[in-house]
Structure formats: C-alpha cells, structure tokens
Symmetry: D2
Subunit: 443 residues, 4 copies
C-alpha cells in the first residue's frame, strides 16, 4: 500500500523489525517450553532469552544488513535470521529452533501480526460505530426521502439510514472477531507436522503465551483456509464501507445536496474550476474498497497448496497481508472522521421530499383507497394514473400537485375525504416505528 | 449450472415452483400475522390460506404461463404473481400484500431458499467428514512420505493427511453454520423499511414461523453484506475441495501412484490411448472450485446498492444463488464418494519413502549430530553435503545410500554410532504423536 | 445463464445439438482431409459424410438418449458420440477419428462455437454503435452540465457524452475482432500434439474449411491463454456497458431527471408505490456486467493446466462459455434498445445547468482574470471566494447569483467589464470544438 | 509491491521524481504548443522550459517536502506541484496549465509511465523468448513422456514442450504491443473534455512529442476501458508464467526429477531438513501470478466512473499500476534466468518413459490393430485389457511388459507381427513432425 494511505500504527505491525522481534520471541518461548519439559537445560533457555533480548534492544540497520548478507548466500530468510541470532547468543544457540522447521516461526509469527492488525481494525470499527451512532441519534427525527432505484420512494428518517449502516458495521465487527479467531493459531510441529523431533506440549506452551491456540493439524504450515476466510471478512467490511461512501457521494450531488463532506479552509477542489467542492474522501473510500477486495481471490487461490505445503502463498501474503490491513485501517479511520464531521442539510432534505409534488405518498394513498373498499388492482390503476399525471407535468406551468390531481379525479371523489388524503400524505407517519427500531439496533 | 453438475434435490430448491410456493406461504403468513393482531379479519387470513393452498396444490405449467403473461405486461414479477394469486383467491385478495413491498417477499423468500440450500450443503459436508474419518482411521498407521514443495520431506501417516483435511472440513462446517445464520433473516418492513403501512409484530410473526430472524434494518431489501459473507463461505469451502482434489491428482500421477480414483468397469480414459486411467473426478472438482469461487466478487459488488436499494443485485443473484449452491452440492457429494472409494496403495507409499536413498531422514540425523555436540551450522553442512552426494548420484551405479555416505564421512565417524544412525532413520518415529493428534481432531 | 436473460440465437449456439453437429462436421472433414492426402480411401470419406449427414438430419431426443446411455458406461462424452456415430455409419466408421484424440474435436468445436458467438456479439455491438450514433447526432447541440465527482463542472453537449460512449464501444468492437482471432484456431494434432498418428496437412485442411487457423502448438489442447484473453475482452465490454448504464441511472434520478428509460404502458414500477418509474433496465445491465466479469478469474485460472493438459478447465468452460456470451448478448441488445428509445429532456438539462447560480462558469472567469493580468493563484482565490459565497447561500433568500457576487467584488471591479463577464459565462463556448470532435469520432 | 520483488529500473518509473519530471515536461510542452499557435508569447514558453528544467535538474527531497506542505493545505496534488513550479518559474507561471485541468497532466503522465513500464516488460518478454528458444533447440530431440491428467500419455520432445511455451509467450508479446497502444493516449482537453479554454491543436502538439495519440473523447479523464484492457493483458501474461512455472514444479518432483532449478552453492532448502532442494523460484512465480492477476477486477471496476469522471480509480491505480508492472517485471526476469539455467535430465526423462512397461504406446498399437482390420471398438477393448493388465501388476514380480502381454494375447496373435508391434512401440515416431512444427514456431 502506498504511503498516502498508510497509518503509522498499522505500518509498524508489518515492519521488518516487528517481524524479527516476534520471530525471536517465538524461538525464545520455544526454548523456555523445552526447558519446562526438561528437553533442554533451563540455563540455556535463560541465556537465549537474555542475550536475545539484549540483541533485539539494540536492533538496528546494521543487524538488518547482516541478516540480508546471510540470506544472499543461503537464500533462506529464516536461516539467515537464525544465523544472525546464533552470532549474538553464542554456543547456547545450538538449542534454538531445535526440531523446528522455518514455517513454525513464519506461520506463528504471521498469526501474531494478523492478530495485532485485527485488534487495530477492531478499534477502527469501534470508531466508525461511535460516529454513526452519534449522528444517528442527532438526526433520528430528521425527515428525508427514501430512494429505491435512485427514484424517490417514501420518506424515512435520516437517522435511521445511518442506523442501518450502524447495524451493518456491528455485523462486521462480529465477523472480524470471528475472523480473528480463524487466524489466531500457532504451529510448532516440525517439518511435516508430526512433532517427530518435538514435544506437542511445547506448542501448547508457546501458543498460550502468545494468546493463540495450537493448530489442529499443521502440515508444516497452518492451513490457508483460515487466511482465506480472514481476507473474505476484510473484503465484506470494505464493501460495507463502499456502500456508505456511495450513499454520501449520492447525497452530495449538486442536484441533491443533502450532505457534504467537510471542506477544509484552504482546500481546492479543482485546478481548473474554483467553484468545486467534491466528495473526494468518499470516492477515495470507494477505490480503497476495490483494493481491499482484490485480496480475496489470491487468498482463496492460496488454499490449495501442494501436499504438506508449497511456498506459492508466501509472495502473495507478503503483499496482501500488509496491503489489505493497511488499506482497511486507513479507510475505516477516514470513514469515522468523515461521518463525524459530515455536514448535514435537513432543510434541503425537507425540500427534496416535496420535489415530486407529493407523489411519494402514493403507497399510503393506495392503502387508503383499498381500505375504502377498492380492489388492490383498481386502486393501483387510479393512483398510478394520477401520480404519472403529476410527475410528467412536474416542471410545467400546468402542473398540479398529486393532491390536487387526486382530489379532481372522479374515481376518487366520494371514496375518501380530503382529511383522509391529508392524513395519507403526512410524512410523520413514516417515523412511527422509529423507537422500536432504535431500541433493536442500539439496545 | 449446467445439468451435468446438478443434483435434483438442490435443483428443486431453485425451481420456479418452489419459489412461488414460498412466496405464497409468506403472503399467507403475513395475512395470518395481521389477523393475529387485529389488522385484518381472521376469516380473510383463513380464506387466503385455504384458497391459496388449493391453488398451489394444483400448480402447473398453465399457472406459470398465466403469471408470465401478466409479467409481460406489468414487467414486474411479484405483481404478476400477486395478480395471478388474486384471480385464485377472489375478493379477499384485497388484503394480501397489504402495506408490503415486493422485496418483503422476494428477500424473505431468498432467505428461505438459501437456508434450504445450506441445510443440504451441511448434509453434504457431513458426508465428506464421514468418508474422511473412515479412511483416516483405516490408514492411521500407513506410512507415506510427506512432501513440501513437491519434494520429499519426512515420512508421515497417510491417515494423518486425511485427518488434516477432516479438520479443515470441520472448520468449513462451522463456517457454513455461521453463514446460515447470516442469511436467515426476514423482512416485512415496507417500501423503505419504515413499517409505515405495517406493524413490526407481523414481521416477527412471519419470521418465527419461517425459522428466520427479523432483519435489524431492512431498507426495502435485506442488506447484501449478509449474502456477500455467505458466498465468501461457499468459496472457502470450494477452495478446500480444490486442496484435497489437488492432493489426489498429485498422488495418482504415473510416477507416484500412491492412490487412484476408483475406475469403473467399462470406463474409458481416452479416445486415443486405451491405457489411460485419469483422475478426472478430482480434476473436475478443481474446475468446480473455480466456478464456485467466481461468485464471490459479484456478491461483494452487490453490497453497495444505491440508497435504500437498487435492483442491480437481482440478475446477479438469479444466477449465482443456484449456480454456486448447485455446484458446491455436486462437488461435495462427488468428493465424499471419491474419498470413500479411493484406491490406496500402501506398498507404493512405502516404496516411495525409500526412493531418495534415505535422505528424507536428514532432519533427524541433523538433530542426532547436534545432540552429539556439534553446532547447528556445522551439523547442517555435514548432513547437507552427504544428502546432496546421495541425491545427485541417486540413479547412477556409483550411488551409495545416505546411510552409507554418512558412515563413510570422517566428520561423523566417532560422533555417532551406527545404532544411533539407525535409530535416526527409523520411520516409525514420525508416528509418535499420532494418538495425541487423532484425539485432538476426532475427540 | 437463466432463461430470463437468454436470447434464442445465442442459446442455439450452445445447444447440445449444435455441438454434435459441429463434432460430426469436424470428423467428416478430417476423413475428407485424410482421403485428400491418400491416407484413407475416398469412398470412406464420402460414406462417412453422407451417412453422417443423414443421421444428423434426423437427429432427435432419441439420439441424445442413446449417446447419454453410452456415456453412462464409458464415462467419456466423445467416445459416446463416436460410438453412436459408428452405429449410424457402419463399417466405414473404423476410419473415423483415426489417430485423433478427443480434444481434437472438443477444442476445435469450442473454437467454432466461440466464433459463432462472437459473430453474434459483433452484430450486437453494431446495434449499440448505431443507436449511440443516432442519438449523438440528434443531441449534438443539446447543452447539458458536465459533472465530475457528481458535482457540476462545466457545460458540455449531451451528444458529445453519447459520442464518447460511441468511441468506447468502437474500441470494444476492435477488441472483440482481435479476441475472435485469439480463439479461431483448430487442433487436429493427436494425443500430445505430435501428429504421431496424423498428418499435419489434415489439420490445415480442416482448419481452412472451418475458417480457423491451425494452432501453433496444441498439446492435446488448444492453449488456454487464448480463451483467457477472450473472456477478458468480454469483461471489458461488460464494464463499458456498466459505465453507460450507470450514466443513465444517474441522469434518471428524481432530482436530475434529464433522461428516462422508456416506460411501457401497463408497466408497474413497484407493488407498493404506484408512482414509481425506475431505471430497471440499466440497473439490470449493471448486474449483468458483474456476471460477465465474473468469468475472467476462472478463465485466467484455467491457463495453467498441468503438463500437456488436465481437464479442470472443462467444467469451467461448460458454464462460462454459454453464460458470458449469452449474458453479454442479452445486455448489448437490451442496451441498444434502451439507447434507441431513451427519453431525453433537454429543457431539464438546461434548467440543471442554471441550478448553481452560474458558478459552473468559474473556470472561464478564472481565465478571464488571468488574461486581465492577475496571477493564477490570486485569480483562483477571488473566484473561489465568490463561488463559495454563491453556493452556500444558494437556496436562501439572500442568495445572489455568481455573476452578481463577482460584479460586487472590489477585487474584480475595474479588472474586467460586465461584457467580459457575460462572455465568460456563455454556455455556447463549450461547444466550439464539437465539429472537430465529431469528425474525429464518426469520420 | 514489496522491495523483495522489485527491480530498480521498474521502480524508477514509478518514483515520485519520475512522475514530477513527466508532469513538468507535459506542462512545458503544453506551453510550447500554445506558443506555436500564438496563444501565449513564445518567450513565456521558453522561460517556462528553461527555468523549469533548471528546477528539475536540482530536484531534491527539499522540493518534495515543499510540495507536500502545499498539498497538506490545498489537499490537491496537482495544485501543490503547480504552486511549487510557479515559485520556481516566477511571473511566467501565469501561463502554465492555462485552460487545462489536473487530469490533463495526471492522465497523460500515467500514459507515459505505463508506456515506459510496457517497454521494459517487452524487453523482459524478449528475454523469456530467447531463453525458451535456446533451450527448445538444445532439446529438440530429447524424448520425454507427454502427460495428460498427470498420467503418462505418449512420448514427445522436451524441446517441443518448451517451443509450445515459446509460442504462448510470442502471443503474449503481441498482446502486450496491443495493450501498449491501448494506453498510449494523451488528453489536454480541459475540465470536461470540451476544449472550452483550449485549442485541440495543443493536444496534438503535446501528444506527438510524447509518442502518444490524442484521446478520441476524454471526459476530463482518459476512459478507463483502456486501462482495464491493459491490466487484463498483464494478467494473461502472468497466467502463462504460472503455466510454465507449474510445469517446472511438476518435473522437479522427487518422483519425476526430469528437471531442477539451478541450486546455488551455499543455498539452503530448509532449516530443518538439510537434504532439501526445492523449486522455490517457480513456486514464487506461481504466487506472483496470483498477485498480478488480482489487479484485473479492480481495473475493471474502475471503468464505470460516474459522469465525466469520479476519482475512485485514483487510489486503485496508485497501487495496481506499480504493483502489477513491478511484479510482472520481476517475474519475467526471474523466469528467463530460470529457464536459461534450468538443469535438465534427459536420462531420467528416458527412464520415465519406460516406467509404465510400455503402455504409453497403446494409441499406436490401437491404430496398428485397426489397420489390421479390427473395428475401432474391438481394438480398443483388446488394447485396454492388456494395458490394464500391465499397469495393475506393474511393480509386482509377476508383472509382464505391455509388449509381452500383447504378444501373449490370443486375440492379437496372427493379426499383427512382432515387427509391427516393435514399430508401433518405437518412440522416435513421435518426433516425425518436429521439423514442421519448429519451422512454424520459429520461422
């Protein structure tokens, strides 16, 4: 992910340094676990931990260069790190990584990084939820037109619109908690997962201290269906972001203008057109959603590794793990800021409801006619006829409102009174279930 | 999905007739719910149920044609169905669909179909789990070579390989149960989800009787993040199928021949080469996995509907809902049959373990040397040198086995005895954790 | 693809019957080619052609059932067909398929079907181009507001908008012609493409008569990079359809109303809201675009077949070949009808241009100030300030037009005259390059 | 793309510095074009060019920081650059960017970068073609077994296998040349593409000097169907890489061992198993193919921008443009080196051909029987029976070779002589069309 869309906290999780720190920690824990079960001397485990901690405390560019040099020869990143570590630890290093395979630390380390990343994303989601909730309550009774197919349907509450997104992001939070469990597993099981040179208790020891669970069967690697499920969840969240971003983009259109992204003093919308105030943040979120989603297919293609493993997943994960989590982190934080500061125009919402001459109440009028004894089909025909008459002449001088047209229709006359029509066209009725809905959503 | 890969039970779920049956049932339930809360007369609800049941009982091609004719005029499928239903029910039809919007029955109906499909898929998964478990126990102690990168690594148990897939499919079962919950929701909330012309209690009434939960906020439609998450789960399962299929394809290679798909008497592998016995079922599963996976992106693209809804998701779902579930159903059933009847060659497995002259025990030899006091790096160099010597001369006359080479190496002489080497090269050691692992997996 | 989105002409191409007809034709041509080069007797080739033609002329359900029965035993579709054909041809059938492999007819037959499908799609594209051209000329001088980010930018011509889509579809036509070449190849090269039991001249003979080119190297199969490239092209076209569909959906929004899909008498937009006229056709096209696009990834995954071939691509292609071409055919025909009958509202377009009080001319005013000697930055600040003032007070009583605000600004006074401002705000200037552009596009 | 898979030449193309250099060059060319047509004074164009060149010549971190500071205020990257440039150029900067819109330089600049990237990729492809050609000729007559479904089919030439990949990469080269044309266009057409404040001749002037063509209709942006088609081509190439990589991975399997990736002295295959020599490069290429392919869907989703443009494509392209081209560049260079140094084992290939006891000649034996007068079906049955007998007893003591079994079969006795059988089982026959094929491919 380009720096433009990268926040430092998430970048730090994917830094080389963090990776090496976790690698060391896993190796040290494994030694401690082995010592615990009498497989290696306790002093060795202490020495590894102490000397290693000291080396990591002063870890610098020099160390990275040294590791790179070793990798240039061995063409194996874990061996390079272990060789560097052995140089720092000395003779006790003989017991480091004993009976383990590279993937034991690679995959367990990836689990730790993904868990760290997920915890950040959960915080981000909380931010989005908080912003949505605040604005949903603020605009609980703000009437706005509901739209299906981009066409005015019936009035609704702007707060309820936001509450719907809140409910969706609450689902996303649950999904992310489940996804976290998917990838929070540990493997210290050796070359092909038989613990041939290892004691399964060591894996449990390490897992517990890392907040992970031992993987059920790791065949050298932790099975990639877990990671695939994880990336699917990120993609669903990204798509929810896109839905909310698309909503804002629509509502900011010049002809609609019901909301606007906060426009900073000094901000310029266009190099050519000084009048522009564009919903660039939500357009950006739309693009980021595409990026995050694009990790799903490679993650799924990574599942069918050959036999006990092949390494084709590695280059994929080196990219999509940081890219998708960094992109999503940035997008969620941008989204919560955006919602928090969204400029909302209730007056314009009210004006838009009236724009179609009242036809948006056709559903309620239909029901009023049915209640007055007409068949559904008959009532539909009458209401549609009057709505179309209103609609097509909307901006011409001879245009009458829906209400006027209805009152003038001989098929209606005598069936419902002007008061009944008035009642059928009262926007407040659309808010009647609001309390129940808010109670359901926000508890 | 083409008929070739379609099983009748799943096809029936997606039949037009099943769809109409569910539509009617929802409308009838809604009437009953309204009657329950005094919104319409109880007799109406009874009449709707009774006359409707009668019409559905004799539902035939004639009815479908009649509905199609109405749709040709109205260009609206739900209105067409309701008009047909009104013709069958008579005057009481006035109360059918009262205050509801088309999506109330379309989306709730889709939920019912998806739940039905999922229940079938869960059965299919149980079949796969059963077959894998049976064969895993049958071959618990069958030694086979574990392979990473397609290269011999260390021996393992063939049963454990299957157990690993069992564990993966057990995870998939859990995921599918969660995915079932995702899409098991009901919406009877009206045009833009405000219950403007409805009572929220009717939705709860209908939902309960359909085994669904009322949707938190349905904005005319049930939000599509749910369906996206559902299809993601199908795609993960499909990828797991691909992994197992790929394993079988590899093991059936002419040079490996450790397993074979059951070959039917009368079956022909090739029109040109009568000797052929090809793993066509697992290749087919590989292709089906690609197809099922291809539903993920459109499902994710369906999430960002405009405002309270647009109908772009509809054409997508008309295809991917049947296609993905039918394809996955077929694949799972094919997979369980395949595993159940898989021809397994333990002798060939044993022979393959020996094929590389014993180098597959290099890891254990490395450890023996480390235990004998060598540094890890030194031991690695010695073992690698002897393994490469063995490997590169494998098929030449001068080729000595790994064991012979090691014994002749002056750097080893005196460090470990022939007995220690023998022990390090005993394949049984790779089975030592099996009981623990089986206990973990199968409980 | 569900019947709802299937046109008969494209369905016929993918019918089982058409497939068998092509299979027979290829086998007969191969016999004729072999006879031509003296490899089999000429009488045999004549007999095969004559008896085969007769069998195909009366081809019916009975034949399909017979073939299915044979396939049920042999589990091989081509062998089943050849066995049926042998029953029809008698002893001469001995020479049919001689030295060939199943893929020789399967892959060549697929090429023929894809070429037939492409020719239909090319016609469809011509229909779209024609409709776009007609409406582009009709509305060449219809002024409309250009929008970037959904925000009013500067006026443009509605015809030019359509002309831009015309140019895009003209590119798509070129791409489809190239894609047709990609898949128009023939393979009659035997089991692994060595012509071991065949004469390469036979392949050339068959290819020529089918309008195909012999495949450079077919390794049993025609390489799948060709098909992948083909499906990519369909996906690009689908995305162009989505772009145009999205444009129409936007322009039909209740607040914009610059165009409307033709609304049939009798059509109903909503079961609940009789007033609705929704852009359902273009929403449908948006969904179909997602479906067509979804064939790209499986087509790409099909490329890396194992060795000389595996059959994993087959199940994929049995679905995506008909699905993607049928879906695209339907979409293109729907699109051309839609454009042809699109209801266009020039008055509403003119009204919308004025909606922002004239700020859409800010770019031209900026240039006028620069020409009057101001620096770009200074001019930008002045124009932006006045545009924002206009914009934010747009719908309030104190709102002045952009022109009024500018004239009242002391920083402008004296720099440009009222006439210069008038000129800068004349919408006609945006049409000045139209003739050049139309000449470029339509030649 | 992570540094691990990034080559400097491609990285340079996507550097911020290269981007700014191109931006300046476009602005300078636009001034020169305007001067050419008398729209601005010639001295201005000279001054812009001269002062700008000077500023770019000493372009450093300081300049980047200054630009970033301006962008932090204006939130617009192009305006930030232009403001910085104005500081460097002084009063003449008034004429820079005159009448242009940001996208004029952004999109034209992206075209230039994509062309530069493509030219590098074309060189890379030439490297792959060269390596494949060299090895194809080297092993033109090296017999190897052809495999379908992973099962031995018939012998073929190893050179021909490589030649088939050569033909595929030659097609990819053609596709990339076409893709280069797709994105080699220029837009200097103003805010919504009407040239309202510009002269179309300036666009032609700039385009010519950049080696681009003027875009037919740019609606503020160059239409994204072009970029989508471009990324599709990269994805097809990536899939071809995967096919070749998969071939090598298969052939290096321990049981097959027909080829090996070059193994560097000092290289370590595994931290746990010193004997390992893994095909890690081709596994890596498999993963990179997944990554490159993952850019296709977002590129296709970028096509349907709203109206004259929205900016959702921008974040997508900031990532996929460098990622996909850098990844593909790295993969192609890795691939050509790999093929060039691939260790090939003809003896092992010869040995593998014999592994199935001669059944790989079943097709030719079938033909010999048909030529001897048997019907195809009868001959098939006999040959299949004997092949299966051979196959199933392959590794048991009682196993006879295919030839022995055939000779002992009473249904064959008297029909074909031992010499005819010998001839039918001669591997050289599979090379008979090689010269024709090489001539076709390499010309």
């Amino acid at each position: 992910m380009v720096p433009r869309y990268t926040r430092p906290a998430m970048a730090a999780i994917w830094s080389l340094e963090n990776r090496y720190r976790i690698w060391f920690h896993i190796e040290a824990l494994a030694c401690e676990g082995m010592a615990e079960y009498g497989l290696i001397p306790k002093e060795v485990a202490h020495a590894v931990r102490e000397k290693g901690e000291r080396a990591m405390a002063t870890f610098s560019e020099t160390d990275i260069n040294r590791i790179n040099d070793i990798e240039a020869e061995t063409r194996h990143d874990v061996i390079a790190f272990l060789t560097w570590l052995a140089e720092k630890i000395g003779p006790e290093s003989r017991f480091v990584h004993l009976g383990m395979t590279s993937s034991d630390i690679l995959d367990t380390s990836l689990s730790v990084q993904l868990v760290q990343a997920t915890d950040l994303l959960l915080q981000d989601l909380d931010g989005v939820l908080e912003a949505l909730k605040k604005r949903a309550f603020e605009h609980k009774e703000t009437l706005t037109i509901g739209r299906s197919h981009g066409i005015h349907a019936e009035p609704t509450s702007f707060g309820l619109k936001l509450a719907g997104h809140y409910a969706e992001f609450a689902r996303n939070r649950q999904r992310l908690v489940a996804a976290r469990q998917e990838i929070a597993t540990c493997a210290i099981s050796g070359a092909v997962g038989t613990y041939a040179h290892l004691d399964p208790r060591v894996e449990i020891y390490v897992a517990e201290r890392l907040g992970l669970k031992p993987e059920m069967v790791s065949t050298q690697v932790i099975p990639r269906d877990r990671h695939a499920a994880f990336f699917c969840t990120l993609a669903v969240i990204a798509s929810s972001i896109e839905r909310l971003a698309t909503e804002v983009r629509h509502l900011q259109r010049s002809e609609v203008r019901e909301v606007e992204e906060f426009f900073h003093p000094g901000q310029k919308g266009s190099s050519a057109m000084p009048h522009k105030r564009n919903p660039v943040l939500t357009e950006n979120l739309t693009g980021l959603a595409r990026l995050v989603r694009s990790s799903v297919i490679p993650a799924l293609e990574n599942v069918a590794l050959w036999h006990e493993r092949d390494i084709s997943h590695s280059s994929v994960e080196r990219n999509i793990c940081p890219d998708a989590t960094i992109g999503l982190d940035f997008a969620l934080v941008r989204l919560s800021g955006l919602i928090d500061r969204l400029v909302i125009y209730p007056k314009q919402m009210a004006a838009n409801i009236e724009k179609l001459g009242g036809v948006v109440h056709s559903g309620e009028v239909l029901l009023a006619l049915v209640n007055a004894g007409l068949s559904r089909e008959e009532a539909y025909r009458i209401v549609q006829r009057n709505a179309m008459e209103t609609w097509t002449k909307l901006e011409t001088s001879e245009g009458r409102s829906f209400r006027e047209n209805l009152l003038a229709d001989p098929d209606i006359a005598g069936r419902i009174t002007e008061e009944m029509l008035e009642a059928a066209m009262d926007s407040r009725q659309y808010l009647k279930a609001l309390d129940i809905q808010y109670e359901r959503i926000f508890g």
